[in-house]
Amino acid sequence: MMKRFVLMVLAVTGALALAGSAGAQPPPGTLVQQVALSRIGGGTGKLLGDGTVGVIFFFEAGQPHSLDALQMMHQCEQEFAKKAVHWTAIVSDSASADAVSADIKASGLAMQVLVDKGDQVYAELKVILHPLVVITDKQNKVAAYEPYQRINYCNVVRAQLQHALGELDDKGLEAIVHPAASTQGGEAAVAQRELRMGQRHLEAKRYPQAAAAANKAIAADAKLVDAYVLLGQASAGQGDCKAAGAAFDKALGLDKSNAAAQEGRKACTK
C-alpha cells in the first residue's frame, strides 16, 4: 500500500516536471526590458533597478487575491528594507487610478506603483494572472515567477527573493517551495519518548516500569541501543541478571563500544 502511494506520488511529481514544458511565458533567464513608466501619485519610475535584484508585482485593484497579496508584499518589502532590492508594483493602464490608490493606501504598500501604458510589460511577460510576482536577477533577467497561492505565498516569495540575493541555496529554496510533510514524529519519536520516560523510572528505582518503557521503545525502534541498555539496567535492578545480560549483549551487538552496556555486562557477571 505504502509502496503504491510512493509510486503514485513519484508519478505525479514527474508529471509536474513535464507540465513545466507546456506554457508560453518567457522562461527564466529571459532579459526584461528596462522602461520608465508613469508612477501613481505623479512622476515616472524605472521598472528595473541598476544591477540589483528586482521584484515586479502585478496586481489588479479590488481583486480578492490581489488584496491579499498586497498585504503580503508590504510585509515582504519591510523585511527586505535594508537589502538591495528594486521594488515595483505595476498595474494595467485600464485600471482606475483611484481604485489602485485606495488599495495601496489600505495595504500600506510603500513601493512605487507604475502604470503599464498599453499593457506593454504585461504583453512582454505574458501576464494573464493576478497577482503575480516576477523576481529578476542583477542582470535584469527573469529569475522566477510566482503566481498567487492561497497557502504559503509569502514564504515562497520571500524564499525566491533570498535565493536571487544569494542568501538561500537551491536546497533551502526547495525545502520551502516543496516542504516535507509536517508529521507528528513517527515511531522514532515514540521510541525516544519511551526511553526518556523509562530512564526517569529507573532514576526513581521503579524497575518494572522502566523495563516496560524500554520494551515499548524497542518495539518502536529495534535498533535503539540505549533502550537495550535501559532494559538491562532495569532488569538488573530487579535482580534478573540473566535478562539483564541478554539485554546488554543486544546493546553491544549494535554498538560494541557502548560504555554503559559494557559496564552493566561486567556488573552482571561479577
Binding site: 502511494f5 503514485m8 506520488v9 508519478a11 505525479v12 508529471a15 509536474l16 516536471a17 507540465a19 513545466g20 514544458s21 507546456a22 506554457g23 508560453a24 511565458q25 527564466p28 481583486q63 480578492p64 487575491h65 494595467s92 485600464s94 498599453g118 504583453a123 494573464i128 494572472l129 493576478h130 529569475a143 522566477a144 515567477y145 503566481p147 498567487y148 497561492q149 492561497r150 497557502i151 504559503n152 514564504n155 515562497v156 525566491q160 537551491d170 529554496l173 526547495e174 517551495v177 516543496h178 516542504p179 516535507a180 510533510a181 509536517s182 508529521t183 507528528q184 514524529g185 525516544q192 519518548r193 526518556r196 520516560m197 526517569r200 523510572h201 526513581a204 521503579r206 516500569q209 518503557a213
Partner: protein
C-alpha cells in the same frame, strides 16, 4: 526546482482557463448551478475571542491551574506516568498526596515529548494554544477521548474555530473528507511548515484521496482520478502546477458547486455577467472578456478583435469557459479541450484545434473552419 514550474503558467488563449477551474469531474456537465447562500467559506481562520475550550462539565474534576485532573469512570486513554503512579514525574510531593507542578506545564511535557518541543521551535507555523500550554487540549492524566484530548477532536477545535463550526453546520455543498473525519487528517495541531497548519501543501493533501477511481461527491457524482488525469495531460492550470487546490476550492464545505470558493457557471451556455465568473476573476482580469478590441489582453484574437469577447460576452447564450478549456489539465496548449461537451447526455464534439505561430483555427466543431491571426491588421 521551483523555477521549472514556471512555463506552465497559462498564456494567450488560456486567459479564460481559470474560468474552468470549476469541477473535480471530467464527466457530465452537472446542472447544479449556484446553490444556496447559506454558508460562506471561513476566511482568515477567524476564531472565538475566548481561549476557552470545550470541556464537558462532567469532565472538570480537580481542575487546577488550568490543568484537568483525573477523570472518573471509563476512559479511552491514559497517560503512562499517571497509569504507572509516577506522579513525581510532574508533581511535587508523593503519589498519595501530589502537590504543585515541578515546572511550567510545557516544560514538563517536553521532558519526555521532546519531539514536540523541537517541532514547535523549528517549524514556521505554530498553533498558539499548543505553544501556550499543552493542557489546553490534553488532559495529562486520562481522558474519555483518544490521545488524552479533553473532548472529541472536532468539538474541541471548533470551540475556538467558531467560524469553521458555522461553516460545517451550514454548508450546502459538503466535502466527503469532512464526514466523520478529523481535523488532524489534514492539519497538524501543534506546528507545521505550511500555513494553516496543513501537514502538506494542499495538492499533496488532496491527491491522497483524489487519486482513485470510483470516488464520488456527497451527491453521488463521480470524481476525477487526478493521478490519471495529470499523468496523461501535461498542460496544467497554474494553481494545479502551484499545488494550490485551495485557490479555487474550499475544502471544508461551501455554497458553490464543486466546493468552488466563488461562483462559476455550471453549464455550457450562460448569459455573461461578471459576477457569475467571480471565481475566474479572482486571478484573471475581467477586461479579457469585457473589451471587444485589444492587442495585449489575449492571444485569442483576430487582429485586434477579441475572440474571448465574441464567444463569452453575450446577453443570452454566452459560451462559458468550459466550452473550450479543460479545468485542470489538458493535452493541448492553453488547456484547450480535445472535444467540446454538449448537452446533458455526455455528448461531445471534436474541437479540431490547430495552433499556428500567430494564431490558430477550429474546424468541424460548433462551427465550420474558422481561423484567427493576431498579426492581422484591422
Amino acid at each position: 526546482m521551483k523555477n521549472q514550474r514556471i512555463p506552465v503558467r497559462p498564456s494567450a488563449l488560456a486567459l479564460v482557463v481559470t474560468f474552468l477551474f470549476a469541477s473535480f469531474v471530467l464527466s457530465p456537465i452537472v446542472a447544479q448551478g449556484r446553490e444556496s447562500q447559506a454558508a460562506a467559506p471561513a476566511k482568515g481562520g477567524k476564531m472565538a475571542p475566548s481561549p476557552g475550550l470545550a470541556r464537558p462539565a462532567s469532565d472538570v474534576i480537580n481542575y487546577k491551574d488550568g490543568v484537568l485532573g483525573p477523570q472518573k469512570g471509563e476512559v479511552a486513554s491514559e497517560h503512562s506516568p499517571y497509569a504507572d503512579g509516577a506522579c513525581d514525574f510532574c508533581h511535587k510531593g508523593d503519589a498519595r498526596n501530589p502537590g504543585g507542578l515541578l515546572k511550567p506545564v510545557n516544560q514538563l511535557c517536553f521532558d519526555c515529548h521532546s519531539e514536540f518541543e523541537e517541532m514547535m521551535t523549528k517549524r514556521a507555523v505554530k498553533h498558539a494554544p499548543a505553544l501556550k500550554q499543552c493542557t489546553n487540549c490534553h488532559n495529562p492524566h486520562n481522558s474519555r477521548n483518544k490521545q488524552l484530548l479533553v473532548s472529541d477532536q472536532v468539538t474541541m477545535c471548533t470551540s475556538c474555530h467558531t467560524a469553521m463550526k458555522t461553516l460545517l453546520d451550514t454548508a450546502t455543498v459538503k466535502h466527503g473528507a469532512m464526514e466523520g473525519a478529523k481535523c488532524t487528517n489534514c492539519h497538524n495541531p501543534h506546528a507545521s511548515a505550511v500555513e494553516k497548519l496543513l501537514i502538506q501543501l494542499p495538492f499533496d493533501m488532496c491527491i491522497r484521496c483524489h487519486s482513485q477511481d470510483g470516488l464520488k461527491d456527497h451527491s453521488g457524482v463521480a470524481l476525477t482520478n487526478f493521478k490519471t488525469l495529470l499523468e496523461n495531460n501535461p498542460v496544467w492550470h497554474a494553481p494545479v502546477a502551484g499545488k494550490d487546490c485551495s485557490a479555487c476550492h474550499t475544502p471544508h464545505g461551501g455554497r458553490n458547486f464543486r466546493l468552488l470558493v466563488e461562483p462559476y457557471p455550471a453549464k455550457f451556455y450562460a448569459p455573461y455577467e461578471a459576477e457569475n465568473y467571480a471565481l475566474c476573476f479572482t486571478c484573471h482580469s475581467s477586461n479579457m472578456v469585457d473589451v471587444p478590441q485589444t492587442t495585449t489582453l489575449t492571444g485569442f484574437r483576430d487582429g485586434p478583435k477579441n475572440l474571448h469577447y465574441v464567444h463569452v460576452n453575450k446577453a443570452d447564450r454566452g459560451r462559458t469557459c468550459r466550452a473550450c478549456h479543460e479545468v485542470h489539465a489538458s493535452k493541448q496548449a492553453f488547456q484547450i479541450r480535445d472535444s467540446v461537451p454538449f448537452g446533458d447526455r455526455g455528448w461531445s464534439i471534436k474541437l479540431n484545434y490547430k495552433r499556428t505561430a500567430t494564431g490558430g483555427s477550429c474546424d468541424k466543431t460548433c462551427h465550420s473552419l474558422k481561423d484567427y491571426d493576431r498579426s492581422k491588421k484591422q
